[in-house]
């Protein structure tokens, strides 16, 4: 009985192996790609459509594009697939995962895959600010794909009602406070309309990256092994964030919820909000009032971190597969396709030449807010990204929140975050 079972099992395995072998030899190269979606909207359809176009243009390459949840899920799935020996050759993952992926030995630099001068020119064709999160150790590991920055949405009707010029949104911190005070409407003790809201749940470190940059301070070095959480300018920036609520009274005290902020803005509970450009299409659709989009205000300079997902190529892949992956990535980042992607999603066009295409030029003309994020790229910096990224990010998130809720002072919280970050990162120096 048992032996016959074994026999049958053996036969089955052989048959299965043969079947698989035949399937994979049917086309020249099979690519598996994971990609995340972090904002609302039918983005999976857009990606699937673009991948289909690619397969039509390259019949010898077969792409299996798998939607993998949010950024965190995508990273977990891709790394788990690699560990279990499942082949995935390329993926879109969070741009700030770079150090973790390098540490795991999971990805190869594009410099090793790029060969021709034409390909090198393509590699140099992206906005430098968007490349910052993809470059370390003098090599390029990530190619920008779905990228964004933070912008300031403001309610022009509320500006008019408060006697402010709706075409001149605040351009400095002082102007922000001044306008915010005029925009904050009170009825007795209850506030009917806040001046401004900066979300402090979900991605506080991201918003804080903007404030710090505006105060002339980056949060980490490009090797990803040092943070500047306790630099005087960083502490000042966090103090300013807390002051918006505690001292100037133009923002609620405590934390401001990321997920409901858009609703707050749409219902007129805040006259200004800082949010990702990824929300532009949704706000455009639902706003019942006249709204504007502006660059974030400046203290010493303007500034915003970039955000979003990059393409990576995995180390566990054959030279042919890498070449095919390169072809796919180049196809998806061609100017026309980048333009189409940007219009359909609200994400940034990642290359200057995308903005010179007829489609995107027209779109920006009809809807000027779409250009604000691009213009801000000039002042943009990398998103917080270090080795031990999850932990370091959480240290900063906790520090920010503990200051905003009034448990600690800015210097105290950031000092302790820096000390703990140093302990985590000293092994990488």
């Amino acid at each position: 009985m048992l032996t016959t079972l074994k026999h049958k099992a053996g036969k089955l395995t052989i048959a299965a192996a043969l079947g698989l072998g035949m399937a994979s030899s049917a086309s020249a190269v099979d690519l598996t790609m994971y990609y995340p979606v972090a904002v609302g909207g039918p983005l999976t359809k857009v990606v699937d459509g673009m991948v289909e176009d690619f397969e039509k243009a390259n019949p010898d390459i077969n792409v299996n594009a798998i939607y993998a949840g949010n950024y965190n899920d995508a990273r977990i799935k891709a790394l788990a697939a690699l560990k279990s020996g499942e082949p995935a050759q390329t993926s879109v993952m969070f741009s700030i995962d770079i150090y973790e992926l390098i540490e795991q030995g999971a990805i190869v630099p594009f410099d090793d895959v790029v060969e021709t001068a034409d390909e090198k020119a393509w590699l140099d064709g992206f906005y430098p600010a968007l490349m910052e999160n993809g470059k370390t150790r003098d090599k390029t590991w990530g190619i920008p794909f779905q990228r964004s920055t933070i912008v300031m949405y403001y309610n022009k009707d509320a500006f008019r009602a408060a006697g402010l010029d709706p075409e001149a949104p605040p351009a400095t911190w002082d102007e922000l406070v001044e306008a915010g005070k005029k925009l904050t409407k009170k009825n007795g003790d209850t506030v009917e309309q806040w001046g401004a809201m900066i979300p402090s749940t979900g991605y506080p470190y991201w918003m804080f990256g903007a404030l710090a940059m505006q105060n002339g301070q980056t949060l980490m070095n490009s090797e990803g092994n040092e943070t500047y959480f306790d630099a005087p300018a960083t502490v000042e920036a966090l103090q300013f964030w807390q002051d918006l609520g505690n001292k100037h009274g133009i923002m609620p005290t405590g934390t401001v919820e990321w997920a409901t902020l858009r609703q707050n803005f749409l219902e007129g509970k805040t006259a200004m909000m800082w949010h990702s450009t990824g929300n532009l299409t949704a706000v455009k659709k639902d706003a019942s009032f006249d709204f504007g989009v502006a660059m974030l205000p400046a203290q010493k300079r303007r500034g915003s971190p970039t955000g979003g997902g990059n393409f990576y190529i995995f180390e566990k892949s054959t030279p042919e597969e890498r070449k095919a992956a390169m072809k796919l990535i180049r196809f998806l980042t061609e100017p026309e396709r980048t333009a189409q992607w940007s219009i359909e999603t609200g994400y940034l066009g990642t290359r200057p030449d995308a903005y010179s295409t007829a489609e995107l030029t027209q779109y920006v003309q009809d809807f000027p807010p779409a250009a604000v994020a691009r213009d801000q790229l000039e002042f943009a910096t990398a998103e917080l990204s270090t080795f031990q990224n999850g932990r370091v990010r959480k240290l900063l998130d906790d520090a920010i929140q503990s200051v905003l809720v009034g448990d600690k002072t800015a210097a105290e919280a950031l000092g302790s975050a820096q000390k703990q970050a140093d302990r985590l990162l000293k092994n990488y120096r």
């Binding site: 965190n72 977990i76 790394l79 973790e100 540490e103 795991q104 030995g105 999971a106 007795g188 003790d189 209850t190 506030v191 806040w194 402090s200 749940t201 979900g202 609620p252 005290t253 405590g254 934390t255 401001v256 919820e257 997920a259 409901t260 609703q263 707050n264 219902e267 509970k269 031990q388 999850g390 932990r391 959480k394 998130d397 906790d398 929140q401 503990s402 905003l404 809720v405 448990d407």
Partner: protein, 293 residues
């Protein structure tokens, strides 16, 4: 004879095998692997994993976040368990009686249980949100200033607890309701003839007879107080500053956001130990006090 016996044994083992394989693959092996992993460091491409003995446990003792989430979890358990059980019992006694539109009331109590936690959390997110939320809109009509429920470390854990109780009480009510329907009505009649008050009847007759159900519900409630963390993903992500983080959520963070499976294993071992101690306590001490028919 011997041959026949060994054949019996093979039969026995074969019958046990399907269940045994699943138990071993999904329960015993992972438990042992977790225990083993907690004695090793987290490896990567540059530094392979190595044996570190109790180093992970030493780190755990000095980890402030760990103690914070343990404290939160104790508060969470100490409030959700008794309140949801008491509420469940109250609702069950109420809908067990003569009541117009009884099934409608029963259904409305049970609805929260059927809804997926993630959907529930998304709804409550808008209840709690300051200014535009349901709670603030109601309180503001009484002239009370708006409150940032989820953004204030003093209220955030309470908000999470309320959702959990709301979600669980209906589920436990079903068990009590089923148990109540098996109680024979003669008991109540007899008690009334003897002149016992309703409270006395509840305290001395009904509640003791419901003890086996209470034990079952209690075990479920305790497990859930460590297991139910779905709402945190939507509502607070453990914030602000870990004020609403629970042990299981912290384990998730360490394993999948920090990618530190060694330390996550260490935390899991601690969680398993705590649950094991509670389970043993329940079976050894409480079981004796329960009256089974």
């Amino acid at each position: 004879m011997n041959q026949r016996r060994s054949r019996f044994q093979i039969h026995g083992w074969l019958l046990l095998m399907p269940a045994a394989i699943f138990l071993i693959a999904f329960t015993y092996y992972p438990t042992l692997a977790t225990l083993a992993k907690s004695f090793f460091s987290q490896g990567n491409a540059i530094k392979p994993s190595r044996f570190v003995g109790l180093e992970n446990y030493e780190f755990l003792i000095t980890d402030e976040v760990f103690w914070k989430v343990v404290g939160n979890n104790v508060i969470y358990a100490a409030t959700t368990i008794p309140i949801s059980i008491a509420l469940a019992l109250l609702m069950a006694v109420w809908v067990n009686g003569r009541l117009p539109m009884k099934s409608l009331v029963r259904m409305s109590f049970f609805t929260p249980t059927v809804l997926p936690m993630i959907a529930v959390a998304n709804i409550w997110l808008f209840f709690y949100s300051p200014d535009i939320g349901l709670i603030d809109q109601i309180t503001s009509s009484f002239g009370i200033a708006s409150h940032n429920w989820l953004g204030d470390p003093d209220t955030v854990l309470g908000c999470i607890i309320v959702i959990t109780i709301w979600k669980e009480a209906g589920f436990f009510m079903i068990f009590y309701l089923a148990a109540l329907q098996t109680l024979s009505p003669e008991l109540e009649e007899a008690a009334r003839l003897e002149g016992a008050s309703r409270w006395y009847y509840f305290r001395r007759v009904m509640f003791p007879l419901l003890m086996p159900t209470t034990l079952f519900v209690l075990i479920n409630a305790i497990i859930n107080s460590f297991k139910l963390v779905d709402q945190l993903f939507i509502l607070t992500k453990g914030g602000p500053d870990n004020a609403s983080s629970l042990l299981l959520y912290y384990i998730y963070e360490v394993a999948f956001s920090f990618l530190d499976q060694a330390y996550a294993s260490t935390l899991t071992v601690v969680l398993l130990l705590a649950l094991a101690i509670i389970a043993i306590g329940q079976f050894v001490f409480l079981d004796k006090k329960v009256h089974y028919r």
